[in-house]
């Protein structure tokens, strides 16, 4: 793939008009009858049928939910919403479990009955070449770079996926290197956010020392705010939030900072 792009820090200012359009898009979330219709339609796919109410959406308009870990914040409200799934409705989609666990979809006036290919690894679909300092896996384990040139196909895709989801290997990296990359530091900080916010804060401060003007400075600040909130250090969090607004007035993460606490 050709990339004829200039390097950038991604911190360019947006025009007021573009900000307006983006703000409108961020609020573009289904609600009311639209949500009920969508949830009934989606629920029918796994045999729950459709209720009149469907799921209860858990949206806070503006940005997506936070960076919480897997099930950490899938809360009781979600469970309650899920409970409303049971019921009858116009089942517009027929899902049959084919042998091997595949789905067969059929629906009138729908796109061709062709399943969606799921990602074959949690690392994404492109053959990115991480630098040696960036091959720390998503959960902190050290993973080998994916085999490039592997022909795509169900078998290889499945095995690749399984590999990506396999339990983490024993950590080869127990101590961060002095030259630990920005991305690795903040990944670890994010992983610690839910269960060990104070450790997350430590990692963020290390990032701040090593990369005060790094490419991920905005993300670091957001993580620090979230960690401070989790530590009930509300004043410091608020202070940092205000500093963030001044330092990065056009940041796409601004709504996330404002909407902290989710």
């Amino acid at each position: 793939m050709k990339e004829e792009l200039e390097p950038t820090s991604g911190s360019e200012a947006r025009s007021a008009e573009l900000s307006r359009l983006i703000d409108a898009a961020r609020l573009d979330l289904p609600s009311g009858p639209a949500w009920a219709s969508l949830s009934a339609h989606v629920a029918s796919a796994w045999g729950g049928g459709a209720s009149t109410g469907g799921f209860e959406p858990q949206v806070s308009h503006g940005s997506t939910p936070g960076v919480e870990g897997a099930a950490a914040k899938v809360g009781a409200k979600a469970a309650a919403g899920a409970g409303t799934l049971k019921g009858a409705g116009a089942v517009v989609l027929c899902v049959a479990l084919a042998s091997g666990g595949g789905f067969v979809l059929s629906r009138s006036a729908s796109p061709p009955a062709q399943g969606v290919q799921e990602p074959t690894s949690l690392g994404g679909g492109e053959s990115a070449k991480p630098s040696s300092s960036e091959i720390v896996g998503l959960a902190g384990s050290v993973v080998a770079p994916s085999g490039e040139g592997t022909p795509p196909g169900p078998a290889s895709a499945e095995s690749s996926h399984d590999r990506a989801l396999a339990p983490p290997a024993p950590l080869l990296r127990s101590q961060p290197l002095a030259t630990e990359s920005e991305i690795s530091l903040l990944r670890r900080a994010r992983e610690q956010l839910i269960d060990a916010p104070s450790q997350s804060l430590v990692l963020c401060r290390r990032h701040q020392r090593l990369y005060p003007q790094g490419q991920l400075a905005q993300e670091r600040e957001v993580l620090m705010i979230e960690a401070l909130e989790r530590l009930a250090r509300a004043d410091e969090a608020q202070n940092k939030r205000e500093q963030f607004g001044k330092a990065f007035p056009d940041s796409p993460l601004k709504s996330r900072v404002k909407g902290s606490g989710h």
């Binding site: 025009s15 008009e17 409108a24 939910p65 899938v74 666990g101 994404g124 053959s127 896996g137």
Partner: protein
């Protein structure tokens, strides 16, 4: 481990939004959203929380939109119909917001798929760049470059639209 229902309750509205701005037209949004959660339902038992549910889900969502675009291309169908209404199922949207979304969608339609994806994830979905590269699977600098190029192109379009030339 969350259930599919829980994942949908928490993230379904965001997936719906992401699919729209990834380029799935209104008429097919419910189906592509459904396809996304069919995959989620099938793969969820294998999910072991080595990344967040959110980035995992957006990987599936992104792939669903990409597959959709490929199918639409094969069928030589127009992705977006002229004057397509947005938010047809959600009438209370003010006209100005609908107009703004339509304008942004037209701008996004001009972008390459890779730039569009980064723009949508970073600017609309509010993802950090580390999350973006987890979803996309590209190097950090590439993601930043795509975002910058996308912003530039969208800004140009928006300026032209303001001048009445779009």
């Amino acid at each position: 481990m969350p259930t599919t229902e829980q994942v949908f309750s928490q993230y379904g509205a965001y997936v719906h939004r992401a699919l729209r701005y990834f380029g799935v037209p209104e008429r097919d949004l419910p189906d592509v959203c459904q396809e996304t959660f069919v995959v989620v339902h099938r793969k969820l038992p294998e999910f072991e929380a080595r990344s967040s549910v959110r980035t995992w889900l957006y990987q599936i969502c992104r792939r669903a939109a990409s597959d959709y675009r490929r199918r639409a291309h094969v069928r030589r169908e127009s992705m977006r119909e002229p004057g397509e209404e947005l938010g047809q199922l959600d009438m209370p949207h003010p006209a100005a917001a609908i107009e703004a979304r339509q304008l942004l969608l037209r701008a996004l339609d001009l972008l390459d798929e890779d730039k569009r994806e980064v723009f949508v994830l970073a600017e609309i979905e509010g993802m950090t760049m580390t999350e973006v590269i987890e979803v996309i699977g590209c190097p950090l600098q590439t993601a930043y470059s795509r975002l910058s190029a996308a912003r530039k192109r969208v800004e140009e379009f928006v300026r032209a639209a303001q001048l009445g030339a779009a």
